[in-house]
């Protein structure tokens, strides 16, 4: 029996999918193990539900479908995802959903069955495909802790620092480790973060000023002073001009 999670903000739309799943039960036995009305709810509840397939509305309040799928992709047993949208073909192309499994509303039973079979055989969508399809940057970064996904709002992040195979994500309140390449983060969030050093991105809005660091063993250099955290991070010679301009502008 295939376990299914339904995420859609419209109650009638969820009801309709459940009806269709009921109609299909004879040829394709399924069980609805969870529902969500917003993207955030889906990220919060799906891991506990153990769902194998997620039927995911593309445009939901709180967090859009594509971002939901990206966060869930970090789970050890990530669900297969079938996107559902009421938008027309043109919009589907704009969302670049073509490369992913999707259904258009109103959904037909046969199409739903085919999509469920295909998705459950194919497994979770590839991260790169989702990243490509997401036209804009995520609003959260996620950390998977056992069977729970912790979401960190991007606007709360003060800096991101690469260490060995992880990236440390620092907010005013806490630190997390995430497994995403710093280069990809820099590209996705170019508007939010600026590179101060080969291994470090800081939030543009958090830059308060600079301190001259004593020479010591290294050459003398500048450290960036950030809002809300005591750490001082070194600014490399290469990035100095660009980083300094931020404070001048402000």
């Amino acid at each position: 029996m295939l376990s299914i999670f339904i995420a859609d903000d419209e109650t009638p739309a969820r009801e309709r999918l459940k009806e269709l799943l009921g109609d299909l039960a004879a040829e394709l036995p399924t069980q609805v193990v969870g529902e969500a009305q917003t993207g955030l709810e889906a990220v919060e509840r799906l891991p506990q539900s153990g769902a194998q397939v997620l039927l995911l509305d593309v445009e939901m309040p709180g967090m859009r479908g594509l971002e939901v799928a990206r966060h869930l992709g970090g789970l050890e047993r990530a669900p297969a995802v079938v996107f559902v949208t009421a938008h027309d073909r043109h919009a589907v192309e704009a969302f670049e959903l073509n490369a992913l499994d999707y259904l258009m509303k109103p959904v037909r039973a046969e199409r739903l069955a085919a999509a469920l079979r295909k998705a459950s055989a194919g497994g979770p969508p590839a991260g790169e495909r989702l990243a490509q399809a997401a036209a804009r940057a995520r609003e959260y970064l996620s950390v998977v802790e056992r069977r729970r996904i912790v979401l960190v709002p991007v606007r709360d992040i003060v800096y991101l620092r690469a260490e060995m195979k992880y990236v440390t994500l620092r907010t005013r309140a806490a630190e997390h480790l995430i497994e995403e390449p710093l280069v990809a983060l820099e590209r996705e969030f170019a508007e939010v973060f600026v590179r101060v050093h080969r291994s470090c991105l800081v939030a543009r809005a958090a830059v308060r000023g600079f301190e001259r660091a004593a020479g010591g063993e290294d050459e003398a250099h500048w450290n960036v002073v950030l809002d809300g955290v005591p750490e001082r991070l070194p600014v490399s010679r290469r990035q100095w001009a660009e980083v300094r301009a931020l404070v001048k502008e402000g």
């Binding site: 903000d9 419209e10 109650t11 009638p12 739309a13 009801e15 309709r16 009806e19 009305q37 917003t38 955030l40 445009e59 309040p61 709180g62 009421a86 938008h87 027309d88 919009a91 258009m104 509303k105 109103p106 959904v107 609003e139």
Partner: protein
């Protein structure tokens, strides 16, 4: 009452337009030919005189058209009558130069007056002809624009509504029937010829059908507060100007929000004006959701086609609310 009554005013022809140039060339030559035909004793004589006349006429026309081509953009900025006077002035100047170049000695002065009168007449007739032509075509242009601007419901709304109706068919067939009737009414208006004014009462009925459909799929998330007790039900307005405002409010202010969204619709008459205000929660994260400006621009253009400068639509954001204000003259079928 239809938009055909709104004519936006005369404008000089574009002298860089090939059609305009061709019409002036043909028209002037036709005038010249008619003139010689009327005065000559026979066909052969007429042809001979026309050839003679053409020798003077064609260079003059060519120079005048070249001059108009050069100054056309500057002329276009002048008020119509000044521009027309400038065109006649250019024609007269060219006529005088051509006349002095080819007039036989001793006949210069008496011939000049005749040449100038004929030139001025030809220029005025050309201008009058082109103005009539522009007037004849202008309403067609306005209508074509209006057709293109016809309000369109987002496909997203149609498909979500159909989906909601499908979900009702088994559980609540009666509600499903009503919803399909609402949808039919909405699309009937959407697909009809929307070039004439309709009374506010009709627009309000349509708005209620639309609101019922949105309530069906959004449930408790959508709360619409109506303030329409003093709405002038007989006021005439362009069809489908209210519905896009409400659709916008729902699409940008309620759908993207996780909780309940309050939309307020107020319609009232103040003296000779009808005021409409639609408010919805302003959701910043979705402010860039596409299509908002377009919908407002579309309404603005349609208001302009129907009311010219007498109607206005404006938006602003205050206290976390996105507010659209629309006003138009209060007109009724009797007036």
């Amino acid at each position: 009452m239809s938009i055909k009554q709104n004519f936006t005013g005369d404008a000089l022809p574009d002298f860089r337009n090939l059609g305009v140039v061709a019409r002036i060339l043909l028209g002037t030559n036709a005038l010249a030919f008619a003139a010689v035909l009327a005065t000559a004793p026979g066909w052969a004589a007429a042809m001979e005189r026309f050839m003679l006349l053409a020798a003077a006429l064609e260079p003059g026309l060519a120079v005048a058209l070249a001059a108009l081509y050069a100054v056309s953009p500057s002329l276009a900025r002048l008020p119509y009558w000044q521009g027309g006077a400038a065109v006649v002035g250019i024609a007269l100047a060219v006529g005088a130069v051509v006349h002095s170049a080819i007039a036989p000695a001793g006949e210069f002065l008496p011939g000049l007056a005749r040449t100038l009168v004929l030139t001025a007449l030809a220029a005025l007739l050309n201008l009058a002809y082109l103005r009539l032509l522009a007037r004849a075509y202008s309403p067609a242009l306005a209508e074509a624009r209006l057709q293109a601007l016809q309000s369109r419901i987002r496909p997203h709304f149609l498909f979500n509504s159909l989906n909601a109706v499908l979900s009702l068919i088994r559980r609540d067939p009666r509600r499903a029937e009503r919803a399909l009737e609402d949808l039919a009414d909405l699309f009937r208006v959407l697909m009809q010829d929307n070039r004439s004014f309709v009374p506010l009462a009709d627009e309000l009925a349509l708005l209620e059908r639309y609101a019922a459909l949105e309530a069906l799929r959004l449930g408790e998330r959508l709360v619409i507060e109506w303030d329409r007790d003093s709405a002038p039900l007989d006021a005439l307005m362009p069809p489908m100007v209210l519905q896009p405002l409400l659709e916008n409010a729902v699409y940008h202010g309620v759908e993207p929000g996780a909780g309940q969204g309050r939309v307020r619709v107020r319609i009232e008459r103040r003296g000779g004006r009808v005021h409409v205000r639609v408010e919805n929660p302003y959701i910043e994260e979705h402010a860039h959701r596409a299509g908002n400006r377009m919908a407002l621009e579309n309404i603005r253009e349609r208001l302009q086609l129907f009311f010219d400068a007498e109607a206005a639509i404006q938006m602003h954001i205050a206290d976390g609310r996105y507010i659209v204000d629309m006003e138009m003259p209060y007109r009724t079928a009797q007036a």
